[in-house]
Structures are given as structure tokens and as C-alpha cells.
Point group: C2
Chain length 352, copies 2
């Protein structure tokens, strides 16, 4: 059995016994029952995921995977593809959006070059696990080979395991890759069986004409590749990206190792969708951080059955939504561990 199958088959349902106990504890805390809404849901889920009645979420890690996309040759992004590498330098310098928001929530950012089209010259704080120098242009055939698709998922799993050894209580997904909303829309159209126009948005800011062109490009890519929705790894190989495969691996590994995984926006959502199609049980380990402005994202969330925590009009990616949501998720377990019960605090319970 290969690593991917081993991880997929090792993902178990949540610990329902602990979740029931958590519910009783939540109901005894000094507040009307259920009055902390989704915080209570989150606390319960985290105990079920971790199997720990008093989980702490101090060690937070956001995985930001960078990779290039051959389909940028078609002019589907308003930004030149060099921006992928330039943004990796920005990450390593600590001055991108994800750095600011990760510091703010107390998370560590793990930056992975899983397929940037050029060599990144600064190696400090960078994990280099290049599958290749960017994918091929998917309008001419598969974006990558099946071997590369599998390798990208396995790479995500291995990167996660290495970081897990240093300590992770909660993981978040993030990415950078000019052109990757195009791949994500193609994946969403294929795996959700929806018309391309319904799942394709403006990415980094296309105008109407640019959006129409992007839809035509995705249409061509789907026609030439004819990906099989019943074979998610083949879908990844034909119309995906290395960072998407890597994130799929990280998400699945989170399930295997019982670590809550916070899913960022649309591209992370496409990775989550592939993970879900490979193993539906992974859904219970996922927390959807926010609802992206990118229209395909809502389709993914409803397909998996996730309700996003935040709706702040974000569409940056990198893991920025994950970082913001992590703060709320961490708050939920502090409620569980730090609030007094009615009995301890001497507060009267409801009389009717």
C-alpha cells in the first residue's frame, strides 16, 4: 500500500463519546445554553478531532505552498507569472499579508516551493520540494503526469509530518501561484459537475473581457483533457497544480494525525474538494475559515457541506483567511477550559 492509500485508509471518524461529554460541559458553563453559537460547535468538534477533552491550540502552523502554472501562457491573470517567485521572497521577508496575519494570530508560516518556475535564491526558512518548474499548459494536454500528481500529494503529507514532529495543534492551508484560480475553477467544474461560468471568477482582478477569456481557456482545457470526476488524482494531474496537490496531501494527513485543519479560500477549497472525493471522512477534520469572493468557492463549500466561519470579502489566498479564523477557533477551546460552571461560580440556573 502506498503512502497516499495508507493515509486515506487511516482516517477515522471523530470521537463521538468525547463530543457528548464536551456538550454536557458546555451546557454547564455560566451562559445560557448554546449562547456562544459557533464557538460551542467548534470547541466540540476540536475535542472530537483530537480525542482530547481539554485541547490546547497553541501550536498553530499555516502551510503556504507556492507553484507556477503553465496556463498563464494564455493570459488568464492580470499579473505576470514572475509574481509567484517574487511573492515567495516577500513571504520569506515576513512582509506579505499572510506573515502579518499569522504573526497576529500566533501562527508559524511554513513556506514550501513545490513547483515555482524559477530557483528561489534565499533558502533560509524555505522548504524546497519542487515537483517541477511549474505545470504544463493544460490547454495542450495534462498539466502534469499521474506520477507528479501523486508525488505532489505525498510531498504535502511528508512536509506535514516533518512539521508535526516540531509540534502542531492546528494547521491552516494557504497558497501562492499566479494562474491557480484557473486550475481551481477547472477542478471545481469537473468534480462538482457545474457549468464553468458558475465556478469561475475574476481571480486577482480580471475585467469582464478577461473573465470571458478565462472561461474559454478552462473550457478548452476540459475538452482536451476530459478529466474523470470519479478519479480525483487524475483530475489533479490533468487540470490541477502542484500546490493544490500538496495541500490535498496536507489536509489528508491532518485527518490521519487527528489535527484540525483550517481551509483558506478558493484554491485551498479545490484541494479540500480533492481530499474529500478521495476520503469523505476528511470533512469532519476541516474547518472552513471564510467564504471567498471567488464565486466557485461557495460551490465547493456546499459540495463538501462546510459552513464558513467568516465572510469578510477576502480573495487574497496565501492562508490569510485561515489565520483570521484560527483566532476564533482558539477562542472556542479557551471557553471550554477557562469558563466557570454555574455550580463553581454560584450562579443560579434557569428556573423555567
Amino acid at each position: 500500500m502506498n503512502k497516499i492509500q495508507e493515509i486515506i485508509q487511516g482516517i477515522k471518524p471523530l470521537d463521538l463519546g468525547i463530543m457528548e461529554k464536551t456538550q454536557v460541559r458546555l451546557d454547564n458553563l455560566t451562559k445560557p445554553q448554546g449562547s456562544l453559537g459557533r464557538l460551542e460547535e467548534l470547541a466540540k468538534i476540536i475535542t472530537g478531532i483530537t480525542g482530547n477533552e481539554n485541547p490546547g491550540l497553541e501550536n498553530k502552523v499555516i502551510f503556504t505552498l507556492a507553484s507556477d502554472h503553465g496556463v498563464t501562457e494564455e493570459g488568464i491573470s492580470p499579473y505576470p507569472k514572475e509574481v509567484t517567485a517574487q511573492m515567495v521572497y516577500n513571504f520569506l521577508n515576513g512582509t506579505a499579508g499572510i506573515n502579518v496575519l499569522s504573526r497576529h494570530c500566533g501562527a508559524r508560516v511554513v513556506v514550501v516551493d513545490i513547483g515555482v518556475a524559477e530557483e528561489i535564491k534565499i533558502k533560509k526558512d524555505l522548504i524546497v520540494e519542487k515537483i517541477n518548474y511549474g505545470t504544463k499548459n493544460m490547454i495542450n494536454g495534462a498539466a502534469m503526469s499521474m506520477e507528479e500528481a501523486e508525488k505532489s500529494i505525498e510531498t504535502g503529507m511528508r512536509v506535514f509530518e516533518t512539521e508535526l514532529a516540531k509540534g502542531i495543534n492546528m494547521a491552516g492551508t494557504g497558497e501562492m501561484g499566479i494562474g491557480n484560480t484557473t486550475a481551481s475553477s477547472a477542478i471545481t467544474a469537473c468534480l462538482c459537475g457545474r457549468p464553468i461560468e458558475e465556478v469561475t471568477g475574476r481571480g486577482a482582478g480580471l475585467d469582464d473581457k478577461g473573465l470571458e477569456h478565462k472561461i474559454r481557456v478552462i473550457n478548452k482545457a476540459l475538452e482536451i483533457n476530459r478529466p474523470d470526476p470519479g478519479n480525483p488524482i487524475q483530475v489533479l494531474s490533468k487540470i490541477g497544480g502542484y500546490e493544490i496537490g500538496g495541500l490535498t496531501g496536507i489536509i489528508l494527513a491532518c485527518g490521519f494525525y487527528k489535527i484540525p485543519v483550517v481551509i483558506d479560500g478558493f484554491i485551498s477549497g479545490a484541494a479540500a474538494l480533492i481530499a474529500y472525493k478521495l476520503q469523505p471522512k476528511i470533512k469532519d477534520y476541516m474547518i472552513a475559515s471564510h467564504c471567498s469572493m471567488e464565486k466557485g468557492h461557495g460551490v465547493i463549500l456546499s459540495q463538501i457541506g462546510l459552513k464558513p466561519l467568516l465572510d469578510l470579502g477576502l480573495r487574497l489566498g496565501e492562508g490569510t483567511g485561515s489565520a483570521l479564523a484560527m483566532n476564533i477557533i482558539e477562542a472556542s477551546v479557551k471557553i471550554l477550559s477557562q469558563m466557570a460552571t454555574f455550580k463553581n461560580a454560584g450562579v443560579s440556573e434557569r428556573t423555567k
Copy 2:
């Protein structure tokens, strides 16, 4: 001119010049323009409120005002009224929801007894500014005198000024008072001109019968008091509460002193509504933290014209929504101060 009029008339529009400069700065940061959605809006508003191009929000204070309500005699809450005082002890002990969430976001909680029906025996960390020992039962006449209503607003203003001297960059509102959703629904029905049923919810967890009874009680209170929607302080005196008046004072003082004020849920919303009716300019200084499960809250938010940041099914009060939102608001100004520009980071700008 009395203190209330002085503060109301001293509230000025936001600094539009600084807000324009902030927009230009935001547009030059290494991200697609507008891609951080409401974070960008928030950063811009905070510069406009404070008049500071590089605002820091380190000093965060949540004001949790506690008071009792005579209308609890009518059995409109599932909890006995002693819970108000009991929860004050819980606040002082650091083990209530607001304590946990304030510690989590790095805010200080200022607990004020502005009208609890009994003496609180622990004075450490408690500000005692009792207007009276709970309001009167509003189904028999005014909940408080006009003098008390004015005094509650002034008290909020003075409490704020005392804390401001210790340092406040961002304030949040919160409250505790068994029966105060009844007062808040009455205020909302009156000031928004809406049927009582549309603005009355289950509070701390009433069943259907309890909810019907609560609506009848509010109806009686409005019939006997006939509050004048054109006179917000009179509305406060007839059907309000001391903590609501105190929060109105704090909110108005935030406008006067150019401090962003984060509005919690329904009861804080009723206080914000009174403040808005006294001085519509105060709207620009308010940030609505979340949308409460209590149905009247949405009516208040749309009346003032505020869009809540979070929607997490909260209905606890105390300032818990404010504390959660403060984290996101603080993130917004860090984006402004810590992210690199395209130029500084050597990242290519959009080509089309």
C-alpha cells in the same frame, strides 16, 4: 451646556483626507487591490476615526456594565434576577465568557455596577456608579426618571474618560442585566417604529409561551408609557435601563474623543441606537462586531446602517462579540503598518 450636549455637539465627521491617503497606501500593498475586503475598509475607517495615519490598537478596553430591571417581576426571563449580581462576581473572578474572550484578544475588561439591585461585596476591579438599585417595573410607568436617564448617560461618559486617561485605542461595549432584552426590544420597537413581535426574541432562552408573554409585557409597557421616538433620552427613561444609558454615554464619548467603538449585540445595539438618534454622526465611529441571534438586532443594524463583521450565532452579550471582533479590527491596522508595497518588495504590478 450640560455634559451630554457638549459631547454630542463635539462629535465631528471622520478625517476624509487621511482616509484617501490610506486608500492609496492600501492599493500599493503587495496584494490585488481590495483583496483583503473588509480588513481594508476597517483600516481606512480607523485612520479616519483617529486622525492617525498609523494607528496602533494595542490598548483595548471592553466596558461591561451591569444593572437590574424591575420588569423581571413579570417573569420575562428564564433566569432569576439574582443572576445579574452573581455574574458580576463571575466577571470579577475572571471566569465568565467575556473574561476568557477579552484575555484572548488582549483587552482589559472594565466592570461597572451602574444599577445592580444589591450591593456587590467585592470592590476590587469593580467600578461602582449605581444610579439606583435596579430600574422600576416599566409596565407600571417609567423605568427611571429623566434625571436618572441623563445621569446614566453622563456616568458612562465619565467612566470612559477615567479609563481613557489610562490609555484606550479601541473600546468595546458589553453588558449584563437579567431582563435587558425586554428593555432593548421595547426601545427598538419605539425608535425604529416596528411591531413588537418583529423585534422581540427569546433572550436567554424563552420557549414559545414565554416569548408571547414577553411580547405582551412590552406592549403594556409601551401603552402605559407612550415614549416619544423624537426624544431618545425620554425613551431611555421610560422603557430603558441604566446599563443601556451608560453604554449610550460611552459610545458618544468615543466619538468625541475619536476612539473606535466596537458594538456588541442586541442590548449594546439598543444603546447605539439611542446614541445614533441623539447624534447621527456617531455612526462613523461604530463598528458592529456581530449579528446577534436576537431578532431585533438586525433591525437596529439596518436602521443605523451598520454591517456586522461576524455572524457566529452569538447571543450571550457581556461584550463577547466585541472581543472576538477586536482581533479582526486590530489585524486590519497591522496590514497597513506591516505589509510591504509592490515597490519595496520588488513585486511586479498588474500588467492589464
